[in-house]
Subunit: 219 residues, 2 copies
């Protein structure tokens, strides 16, 4: 995973090691000391290449954002703004499926990333060509929220256990929720970004919003 121990450190090496570490052991494993270890260096050495830990976190958001932009750049345009946007968003999602720690991080610090801004810039351009006013586009970005980037925020925690296993004394207090959950099955566990954000659910919400936006455009 890490390159030769003799390779000198660099901001880029530090950031890529951080992404790899997060991919393998989660974001919590990314400490300055652990990261240095991964690079066969001392924690203090990192400070020559990055300002502080926040800078590392900003940096790995940037790395992931670039990965998204490269993926999106390879896509062909669809027949209309909506299809094109949909394709891009679902492609971005694939990148997050490779970096499952990233949604949580993006939610706190995506504004610092030039790559994220470029992604949005391109989306704004697409919608503007597609007939939306800037004001509408602004609204649209809000309506989409993190869906514009390919993930939806998790309101339930994956670690809390499966849906059906609600303890009986709790179930009595939550009759409607338990009733609903007993009827629901999730389609594809491999496509999950968290507990409940699987591909089918993500697309449902995305399409609902894109359709709603498209109606507004035509008025």
């Amino acid at each position: 995973m890490t390159t030769d121990a003799r390779t000198p450190l660099s901001r880029e090496r530090v950031l890529h090691a951080a992404v790899a570490l997060a991919d393998e052991h989660g974001l919590r494993a990314v400490t300055m000391r652990r990261l240095a270890e991964e690079l066969d260096a001392e924690a203090m050495s990192l400070y020559y290449h990055v300002a502080k830990k926040e800078d590392v976190l900003d940096g790995i958001v940037e790395v992931v954002a670039q990965e998204i932009n490269e993926t999106v750049a390879r896509l062909e345009k669809g027949p209309d703004w909506r299809q094109t946007a949909r394709r891009r968003i679902l492609a971005a999602r694939q990148v997050f499926l490779r970096h499952r720690w990233a949604p949580a991080l993006f939610e706190t610090r995506s504004s610092t990333s030039l790559g994220v801004l470029k992604y949005y810039d391109s989306l704004v351009g697409l919608m503007h060509e597609g007939g939306f006013s800037h004001n509408r586009i602004h609204h649209a970005l809000h309506a989409l929220g993190s869906r514009a980037l390919g993930f939806s925020q998790e309101l339930f925690d994956p670690s809390a256990g499966a849906s059906a296993e609600v303890p009986p004394e709790l179930a009595a207090q939550l009759p409607n929720l338990v009733g609903m959950l007993s009827e629901i099955t999730h389609d594809d566990p491999d496509s999950t970004l968290g507990w409940c954000d699987d591909q089918a659910e993500f697309e449902f919400g995305l399409d609902l919003i894109l359709a709603g936006l498209d109606l507004l455009r035509e008025r």
Copy 2:
């Protein structure tokens, strides 16, 4: 803010002190040592009343969730499911406006909260009465995401500076975004939950989704 120094500690006092501390100085100020200080005790004393820090965080989510449920319980029903849901969601939002640190925390750990589950349970019940199948409701909750609870996730960071102040060398790389932002003004700075999640934007996205869902129900 804190009660008499003689008042014995309790889980409840600890949690309420934690909420007050987060309200005043942010979630980062909530450390075991600082929290103890606030209660005129030693950090180690807290461990008699809470298991660990995670337990404190779960607990303050619960406190806020209860606040939401109490607020919602006082509301009258609207003419239909959609109006009622809208009222509840906007009322929940008011609670988050008093606890601006809470959205970020809810996004990571709301599943542990009985109060949050009760909120959802009631929403599921409302929609079921309103003519939705459980399967549709499940989809609907996904489509709404955190909006069901009254906030939308922030993709941009409030600390990063105002929208118009994009440095010129950056602006050249982001023509569409800069074009958009130059036309946009946010309506009401007081209603903001973060950089861009103000009341008007929140309602736009919420109504778009509620309208889309309502159409599905009628089919």
